[in-house]
Symmetry: C2
Subunit: 440 residues, 2 copies
C-alpha cells in the first residue's frame, strides 16, 4: 500500500492544515490492488449475546427503570436525546473568512431514510441568517408583467392548489474540494451540502399568473431579503415547469436558516438558485448577469473559458456508512448504506463496489423513490476484516450513469469548484478505520 499515506486520524476536518491537504492527493490507490475481496451476501444471521453470558446491563436495574422521568410539559417543542449531541451540522473553520458568509454540513453518516431532519439541513449564507417577522414580509412581482403585485404571507397561503413535494437541494460546490484529489475526511464534508425536505407551498406559475407575464418574458430575477440581497436569474421555462414558492418544510414553517418565511424551490437545480427569504421576483427578457452567475457558480475550464448557467445537478451518490466518520466496528454482518440523487429525474439503480470499481453489485433501493429526491440504498455485507475500496455509482431515469472523478477531470480539468459528481472512494482499513482516497 501507499507508504506515504498519512495517518487517517490526522485528516479529521477542522484539524487539517494546509500542509496536510497538499499531501492528500498522493493518497491514490490502483483499483483493486491489495484487496482480497470481502464476501458479499444478502441475509446474514447476526450473532448476539445469549443469556448464558452475564451482562450487567441486564442483571442490574438501570435508573431509568426505577425512577419517574420528565413529564409531558418539559419539552413543548422536543429535541434529540442528550446522547445524540454529536449529531450536528459542522463547519470548516479555514474554509471561509467569516461565519456570516459561510457554510456548514449535514451529518449524512448519522442519518437514515430519505428525509433530512430540519435541524440538520446544511446552511449556506452570504450575509448571515435573516430573522424576519412574517407579518412584515412581502413578496413583490414586477418587471414584464401586466400588473405589478405585492403579496403578504397570508395572501399566498390562500392560493388554491397548495402542494407538498420532496426535493433534494444540493449546493453546486458540494464535493468541490475534491476536484484536486481526496481532501476532506468524512462524507459530512465531502457530500454534506445536500439535504432532502418535504416542502409546502404553491407553484411559482400560479403566482406569476396573478401578475400576468408578458409575451417577451424570458427570465426571472429572484431576490432575497437578507442583508446580502442574494439574486439569481432563472429561465422562464423552468419557472413555469416545476418551481415552487414555499413557506413550509417537513410539515412546519421553514427554518430561519432555510429562508423563513419564504423561499423559492428550483427542483434538481443548484442550491444557490433556491433563493431564501424571498422578497421579489422580477420578470425580464434576459439574464441579469449578477455576481452569483458570473464570478461565482460558473465552471472554469482548462482553456480559461468558463461553463455558465450549469444549473442542473447531475446524478450522484455516496456511501455514507462506512465512511471516515463512521468506521466499521465489527467483523461479520454489516450494513453498507448511502444516498443517490439526480437533478434530471428519478434514481433507477445504484451499484456498489468494494474493490475500487473492478466489480459492481446492485444495491437495494428503499422507498419511497421519488423524482429529484434523495434515494436511500442498502447493501448488506459480511466483512471478514479485509481492506476494501468502497464506491457507489448512481443511474437515473434518463440513462445517465455517474462518472468517475477521472472521467470528469478529463473534460473539465481541476480549476472549478462546482458540479463535481464523480464517484467517491473510501478506503476501509483492516481495523475498520476508513479514509477518503483516490483510485486510478
Amino acid at each position: 500500500m501507499d507508504g506515504k499515506r498519512s495517518n487517517p486520524a490526522k485528516h479529521r476536518v477542522g484539524e487539517s492544515s494546509a500542509a496536510d491537504r497538499k499531501t492528500m492527493d498522493r493518497r491514490r490507490f490502483l483499483a483493486g490492488a491489495g484487496l482480497a475481496g470481502a464476501a458479499v451476501a444478502g441475509a446474514i444471521p447476526v450473532r448476539a449475546q445469549t443469556l448464558a453470558k452475564p451482562d450487567p446491563a441486564i442483571t442490574e436495574v438501570p435508573d431509568w427503570s426505577r425512577y419517574l422521568g420528565d413529564g409531558v410539559a418539559a419539552r413543548p417543542y422536543g429535541s434529540p436525546s442528550s446522547f445524540e449531541k454529536h449529531v450536528v451540522r459542522r463547519d470548516v473553520e479555514w474554509l471561509t473568512a467569516s461565519r456570516e458568509s459561510s457554510v456548514n454540513f449535514t451529518p449524512l453518516h448519522e442519518l437514515d431514510g430519505i428525509i433530512t431532519p430540519s435541524g440538520l439541513c446544511f446552511e449556506r449564507h452570504h450575509g448571515g441568517i435573516a430573522e424576519i417577522d412574517p407579518a412584515q414580509h412581502r413578496l413583490m412581482i414586477n418587471g414584464l408583467v401586466e400588473k405589478p403585485m405585492v403579496f403578504t404571507l397570508e395572501d399566498l397561503k390562500r392560493f388554491p392548489n397548495r402542494m407538498n413535494r420532496v426535493y433534494f437541494l444540493e449546493c453546486a460546490a458540494n464535493s468541490g474540494m475534491e476536484w484536486r484529489g481526496a481532501q476532506l475526511n468524512g462524507c459530512q464534508y465531502t457530500h454534506g451540502m445536500v439535504h432532502n425536505v418535504m416542502y409546502t407551498g404553491i407553484s411559482l406559475k400560479s403566482v406569476l399568473d396573478q401578475a400576468g407575464i408578458r409575451p417577451n418574458a424570458k427570465w426571472l430575477l429572484v431576490e432575497g431579503a437578507d442583508s446580502a440581497g442574494m439574486t439569481r436569474s432563472i429561465p422562464i421555462e423552468k419557472a413555469l415547469k416545476d418551481c415552487m414558492v414555499v413557506w413550509g418544510m417537513n410539515g412546519e414553517a421553514l427554518r430561519p436558516e432555510q429562508g423563513y418565511p419564504l423561499r423559492i424551490v428550483v427542483p434538481g437545480w443548484e442550491g444557490n438558485m433556491w433563493v431564501k427569504w424571498l422578497r421579489r421576483i422580477e420578470v425580464g427578457d434576459q439574464p441579469w448577469q449578477h455576481r452569483e452567475e458570473t464570478s461565482k457558480y460558473t465552471d472554469l475550464l482548462e482553456n480559461g473559458t468558463s461553463r455558465r448557467f450549469t444549473f442542473v445537478m447531475d446524478a450522484k451518490s455516496v456511501v455514507t456508512n462506512p465512511s471516515p466518520q463512521a468506521p466499521l466496528k465489527h467483523k461479520g454482518p454489516n450494513v453498507m448504506t448511502g444516498l443517490a440523487w439526480s437533478g434530471r429525474g428519478t434514481v433507477t439503480r445504484v451499484d456498489v463496489s468494494i474493490d475500487g470499481g473492478k466489480n459492481w453489485h446492485t444495491a437495494r433501493l428503499d422507498g419511497p423513490v421519488l423524482p429529484m429526491s434523495l434515494t436511500r440504498f442498502y447493501f448488506d455485507i459480511d466483512w471478514n476484516g479485509q481492506e476494501m475500496l468502497v464506491q457507489s455509482r448512481a443511474f437515473d431515469s434518463t440513462g445517465y450513469v455517474q462518472p468517475t472523478k477521472e472521467e470528469l477531470r478529463k473534460i473539465r480539468g481541476v480549476n472549478s469548484i462546482y458540479h463535481n459528481n464523480g464517484i467517491q472512494t473510501w478506503f476501509v482499513h483492516k481495523n475498520g478505520e476508513t479514509e477518503n482516497v483516490e483510485v486510478s
Copy 2:
C-alpha cells in the same frame, strides 16, 4: 341558532371548567339548518395589494435587510423561528393527575404535508420520559423460543434488510372525550393524539427468527424499560406480518419521548401497543391480560360488557383548517385542508361538507398517499362570510367509510373513551371564529 351555545372563546382547552364541559353537549345543530351554502370552487384568483397602494413593509428597508444575521455556527442543531413560538405541543392540565403519566397533543392546525416534525409529535407517558444510555440498553427475546437472546443496539443495526416506512401512530383515546358530545375546542385537542413519521429499523420477524420461535407460539409480550414497565400483548400473526423494531424516526435517532433508543412499530394498530424504550419481547401461547388490555384500552358498551383487543384504528379524518384554533380571517378564496388515515390500508378518497353532511364534495389528495399513513387533503373554497358546518369523511382501500358519531354511539354507547373515529363537525361563524359542535 342554538341560543344556549356559550361563547366559543370560553372553550379554549386548558381554561375550560367542568361546568363548561357539561354545557358543551348542548351545542348541537341540525345539519344544514341556517346555512345559505357557501360557494365551492376550484382555482380562484387571489386579489393582493398592487403597488398603487403604499405599504411601509415595502417602502421602508427592514433591519434584516440592513444588518448581518447570525452565522452558521450559531445553531449546530437548528430550531424554529422565534416567530413560531406558538407552534408547540400542548397539554390539558385537568385531564390527568400528574405530568409523568399524562399526554400532550400535536398542533395539527399548524402543520401541513404528511410528516409530523419530530419535535411536535404528541407524547403519552405512564412513568415520564426514560432517558436511556444507548450503550447500556439491551433487547431480550425469551419465552417460547429455541434460543433466548440479548441484543445491543449495535447488533440490531447490523441486521440485513434495514428499511424505512412511514406510518401514523394514533392513541386509541384520540377523540375519546368527544363520545359524550362536543367537548374540546381545537383539533389539537380533539384529534392531536396522532402523528406520522418515517421510521428506520428492521422487521420484528427478523429479530424473532434469530431466536427461533416455537410452533406453539401465538402471542408476544412487548415490554418497555421506562419506570412504568409498559407491557402489551400482540398476536403473532401481526408481529410476523409488518411490525418493526426501530431506532430511527424522520432520518435521525428516535426522540427520548418516542422511545429512544428503541421502540416497536405496530402499523395501523392503537398507539399504546407501540411500546417505547423496548427492552424485552417474550413469546407465549396466549395474551398476558395485563393492565393495558383489561382495565384500560377496552371499550365499555351500554350492556356492561367490554370489547377487547380492539387493536385496529379505523378510517378517520379531520379538517385541520379551519378549526377552532385556526379561524377564517378573510372572505374570498381560502384553503380548507385536513388529514385522513386508516389502520386497515390506504386512504382512497376524502369528502368534505360545508353544510353539516347534507352535500359532499370530493377533496384533492396530495401525495405521497401511503398505506397506514396520514394522508393530506385540500379543498379550495370561496367563502362569502356565511356560516358553515364543516365536516370530512374518509374512505379506505377496504371500502370502509368513516361513520358519523351518532352511528357509532348507536352501536357502542357513550361509555368508552377509545376508538372514536366519528365524523368531526366545526361550526364557522360569520366572523370566521370556529367551534366544535355536534350535528344531528
